[in-house]
Every structure is written in C-alpha cells, then in structure tokens.
Symmetry: C2
Subunit: 201 residues, 2 copies
DNA sequence: CAAGCAATCTTGACAGTGTCAAAATAGCCC
DNA sequence: GGGCTATTTTGACACTGTCAAGATTGCTTG
C-alpha cells in the first residue's frame, strides 16, 4: 500500500546516530520529561520500537547522549588547561566559571548528565563511565598542579580536594538551574565568592 | 454488595494526612519513580482518583511531602544553632556534617526536596516555598554570625557566602547519593576537606 | 425528620508511556 | 536464487496521570 508519509526503508543506514542527534535536540528543546521514545521515533520517521534494535532500553539511549555531553565538557576543559598564557589563578577561576556556564547553558543536558535515571540501579553503561570518569581524572590532575603551584592548599588530599571542588561547582550549578536559593543573576558573584574561598593568595 | 477488601467509607476522615504519610513511606522504600498515585491509593484503600480531592495533581502531593522534609531539616539545624556548648568552628563543622547526613540518610526524600519536578515550570506551591525559604534564611543568619565571629571570611557578602556553602553541601550530597565521582565511603574526608577550605583559623 | 446541598469518594474513560514478541522487509553471501 | 542475518513494523500489554460523571455520606435548615 502506498503510504503518504515519507517513511524510511527498513534499513535506515545510520539510525543509531540519527536517534542520538534527534533525541539530543528534543532534550534541549523539551527537557528530559518531554523526551519520549514515541515522540522521538515519530520525529525521525520510524516506528516507536525501532530504537530497541540499537539500544537495550530508553536508559541506554539517554546514557549515550550523556556520554557525548561528558566528552564535550572534557574537550572544553582540556582547551583551557592547555592555555599556557593564563596564570594559575585565572585558569582556576575560568575553570570554575566555564563549568557553571556549561551547566547553565544547557540545563536539560546537564540534568541528564548528572541525573539519577542513568546513574542509579547499577545501570551505567560502559560508554557513560568511559566518558564521565576521564572528565574527573583530568580535573584531579589539574588539582594536583594547582596544589603544586601553591594556588590550592597543599595539605589537602588531591582527590578529596578535587571531589569537593566538583561538588561545589555541581551544587551551585544545580541550585541555579533549579531556581532554589539562587538564580542566574547571582552566578557571577557566587563564582567569585567560591573561587576566593578555594584559592590561597 | 459485600466487598471482601476492607474499604474505607466515602468520608475517610483524614485522607489528606494519610496520603502524605503513606506516600512518604512509598517514597523512602521505592524512590520517586516507584511512587505512583495508583500504588499509593491502593495502599491507602481508596480509589486512584480520591487524592484529586485533596491535591490539584501529583505534583502538589509531592510538594507537600517535600515541605515536610524542609521543616524537619530546619528544626534539626535550629537545635544545632541553639546549642551554646559548641564552639563556632565545631558548630559549623557539625552543620555541614549534619546536612550531608540528612541528605544521604534519606536519599529519595532529598532527591524529592531538591528535584526539578516540584521546582520547575512555576509550579512551586506556597507551602513548599514557606517551608524551603526559612531553611535558607536560618543558614544565612548563622553565616552572618560565623563571619562576625571571624570563623568565615568577613569580606564576602553573607548572602553569596551562604549560597556557596549551601551549593557545596548540596553538590557533595548529590554526588554521593548519585554515586558520581564520590560515594559514602568518601564522605567523612570530603566534609573535613570542605570545612577546612571554608573556615579561617 | 426529610430535603437539599456540599464534601468526598468511585467508576468509566482517555491519552500517553515503555517494552516485548511475532511478523515483515531488506541486504548480504554463497 | 535461496538462506540467513539485520533491521524494521505491528499487535499487544501493563502502567501512568488525569478528567468528568455518578454515587455516597455528612451536615444544615425548615
């Protein structure tokens, strides 16, 4: 029967990547709750269960999107870390600022990356872990460097310090994105305050 | 017709409070995603739409639970703030520690209290705001006191400092609860590290 | 005491969701 | 060209939140 809708043939070609791209767009425009597999499939022009050939379930699709978010953030931080023209203090300050900017510029992506659906119930995919953990490992290396340069307190364990710095950035980002006790108009001064607390002058 | 299930009469008596109590229990045992109105109604022994007479929608029921969580946390902190036997530094350290303990002891409650479903889309109830904001206002007052006592840096804006402290506690709590870059075995040292960064000795 | 009204519930129904299994289609290889 | 595999569609199910109409119950008033 001749169908009026332009439907892809059974072998789409690269449905997996197409689904990830379209789902990322849906996520950014309608948020995590607005992203459903049925809406996604309709937008891509396949049936609602076509994604199940490429992803075990919805969670694995979301994990694939989050993994890409981590890779983008890791590359962004790497460019900053490799900028030799910056003082240690300026680099730390920009690192903190860039993190919050990344989180608030794409709040739904950030919520997905750090949201419980993909991290709970032992459901993390290998791809997600392999994208997420280097992001932290990179910051841990920079933390050691900042301690060696006297910028951050050398008496603290680098790992604990890196965790606390990440926790502070993460908490500020979440409060601002969720609009609890802070909002976008507060961000600049909050970052200045936080940086001032961490660095040793 | 004689029914075999023990069904409450139409006028339950105090269905609103019963729903809140039962929903809190469901939340703590099965998490936010495991809490559905149908499951809740069945547990309480009413029909699935009985809650709609007491709550506009599911979001308002969740907000009522979260408001109670904020009240409990506010009372807990107040007891600490009123303990005159503690030094300023010990009080701050315990404040930080008690917050993380509160968050990690009831992770699903904490996730509800600070989760996006009840804070987004301009859907905050008055009850939620009236419970949540005093919790922060109380900490802001203590922050001013700690600054006056020389424990925290006096040159920072009290409001920004209070926001950053809350952000740090919030971020650490979330990372630990979600198991991203930190877990329960790290908490003690992370708190010690964070407190050491904030206080002036 | 009965009627009327309001409060409070139940039932029928709908739209949407994620997921599974069976069937259909299409590409590739021998 | 037939067989096999990969990839899709379709039928179906269970679950969810919510709405409207109807039923039940309690209270008030005449």
């Amino acid at each position: 029967m001749k169908k009026t809708i332009t439907r892809t043939p059974y072998h789409h070609g690269d449905l997996r990547q197409t689904l990830i791209a379209a789902a990322t767009e849906l996520l950014l425009t309608e948020g995590i709750d607005g992203l459903s597999l049925r809406k996604l499939a309709e937008r891509v022009g396949v049936s609602r269960t076509a994604p199940y050939h490429h992803f075990k379930d919805k969670g694995q699709l979301l994990s694939a999107i989050a993994a890409e978010g981590f890779r983008q953030r890791t590359e962004q931080a790497q460019r900053l870390f490799e900028d030799d023209s910056l003082s240690a203090e300026l680099r730390f300050s920009l690192f903190f600022r860039d993190y919050i900017a990344f989180a608030t510029a794409s709040a739904p992506m950030y919520e997905l990356m750090f949201g419980s659906p993909i991290w709970h119930n032992q459901q993390q995919t290998e791809e997600l872990k392999q994208a997420a953990y280097p992001c932290f490992a990179q910051q841990l290396e920079m933390t050691k460097q900042w301690q060696a340069q006297g910028l951050l307190p050398a008496e603290q364990s680098p790992l604990r310090l890196a965790q606390v710095i990440w926790g502070a950035m993460h908490g500020i980002a979440r409060l601002v994105n969720d609009g609890i006790y802070a909002d976008a108009s507060h961000v600049g001064e909050m970052i200045d305050c936080a940086v001032a607390l961490f660095v040793r002058r």
